[in-house]
Subunit: 315 residues, 2 copies
């Protein structure tokens, strides 16, 4: 019977990349410490008003429970942001989970509704399936979330937004960027982006945390998480998922290789890439006033297109 | 029955990354043209005395037959270098093959013997198996070949050394460098290194050529190539081979992805990496006078260690 490395009691979780067994209690501490270390190394104590973007999935729920109590104990003002994308049969379940977590931790919850901008992701999906929109639903949805996260944080005076991006996705995504030569995308994936003016600083404290760790963390702590998938998750998955599956096979034979890669990417490769590549020039959108690389910004452009299409479909 | 894309005759070779069938004759032309393009783009016509490093394997033999006649027709002085590593039961076969190719093309052959420096790779392997040397045989052999290639080219007045490194190995090797954060190694893999003074320019015109292409090229042209493996090829292969196998699986589903990656690495990622990383300071070895990052150079250090060990073993 395997024993916990810390207390010698019956172990439940084997962490191959640390070659260690843990009981649930010490597994929880192990994950929390590793996330604290990332937070301290890359993000630090300079932020006083922190917004956790929580979807209700295992990653963002883990992040919230790992980091929010610590920040609260340090006197940081903490809130949760839930983005209501208006996905029928999905968003309401997700919101319930997030409300449950917010009240467990007694943290204020801000709900931002895409519907307030005149449409929902269900509208986007319908237009896409009717071939009236060519850009995939997930791509629009991702852009919308990034936009709203930043806009709410700016309007409500937060100085840091934290998201639950984990190692597995980031490793696969950055490798695809390397394979396809998208250097500008490659340098954007970081544990910390400092932001400026209307671009609020953003942190990814789980960037070195395996998905398996957040899965076991919510299990060990019995946290409420959303168990259903978004209905628009594509059946046929793309290159990123393929590379992710490859990385998982590689990880089986070389435990820790994904984390090693991410550390090398962040600490060695990205700093070696010249500054010119890093900084894409920002302008302010003439419609909404938020920072963007184009004018109008991606959000306002797609929004006006969708509202126009909706009028066409309905009219 | 598939038809050749060029002449419509019965096709024999399917090239998935170009989605094209070719008859043997037009496959040969297709490969030759693609290598000429790489040579012209990255290496160009500035070199007048070119040394082909030929091992006898399919890659270096292909390179020789693709490029040497073209360079000769342009009035370039061309020779072949064979490095006699003194591998029992292997080197003599390889030399015969290289001699055959040299006389087919009527190109002078220079044979450089490691034995003239007091030892052979068979000595290295024996010391390694006796655990008197810790550095793997292939690692020492690779260093020895790079050293002798450069030294012979310098001493004999060549201004360019060409080697048969193909896409498959280079893609796997550079990806391992990315995973392990060896940025200095990553920027070394290029189609062209200009060299300076005693460091002779080096070219890898097959850097965008798949191994499958050289395999079919020697088959289509019925060229003499070495069919045996070096006896010291490790049975248990390392991370590079594993990544290479992964890339081959990925290539099956995404034909051309390895070549796309290599183009992006060479044309986008490497140029984005700052100059400081690229240039490791060179000194001249106080023993042999050749350029190196250490003094004495790797070749002279390992040589004196091996000669000492040989005296010990024999004495």
């Amino acid at each position: 019977m395997p024993r916990c490395r810390v207390c010698g009691r019956r172990a439940k979780y084997y962490v191959p990349w640390s070659n260690a067994w843990f009981c649930p209690e010490h597994f929880i501490r192990y994950v929390e410490r590793s996330v604290f270390r990332v937070y301290e190394k890359y993000i630090g104590g300079r932020h006083r008003r922190v917004l956790f973007a929580v979807s209700g999935g295992k990653d963002s729920v883990s992040l919230l429970h790992i980091l929010a109590p610590k920040l609260l104990s340090e006197g940081v003002d903490v809130s949760i942001l839930f983005i209501d994308l208006g996905i029928e049969g999905y968003t309401s379940k997700a919101l319930k989970i997030v409300e449950e977590n917010a009240s467990m931790l007694k943290i204020p919850l801000i709900v931002s509704r895409l519907r307030d901008y005149g449409y929902t992701i269900t509208d986007v999906a319908e237009l896409y399936f009717k071939k009236l929109l060519r850009r995939p639903v997930c791509s629009i949805c991702g852009m919308v979330k990034r936009y709203l996260m930043n806009r709410i944080a700016y309007e409500e005076g937060y100085d840091l937004v934290l998201t639950g991006h984990t190692l597995d996705d980031a490793a696969a995504f950055t490798l695809v960027n390397i394979l396809s030569g998208r250097i500008d995308e490659l340098v954007k994936i970081k544990p910390y982006n400092p932001g400026n003016h209307k671009l609020i600083a953003r942190g990814k404290p789980l960037l070195f945390t395996y998905e398996a760790e957040t899965k076991w963390y919510v299990e060990a702590r019995n946290l409420p998480v959303l168990r259903v998938k978004c209905p628009y998750t594509p059946v046929e998955e793309g290159l990123v998922s393929e590379i992710k599956a490859m990385l998982h096979r590689l990880e089986e034979r070389h435990p820790g290789i994904m984390r090693m890669y991410m550390r090398n990417l962040i600490d060695k490769l990205q700093p070696a890439i010249s500054r010119e590549i890093k900084e894409s020039r920002l302008v302010y959108c003439s419609v909404c006033g938020m920072p963007s690389s184009t004018d109008p910004c991606g959000f306002c452009r797609i929004r006006s297109r969708i509202l126009e299409l909706k009028r066409g479909v309905e009219g």
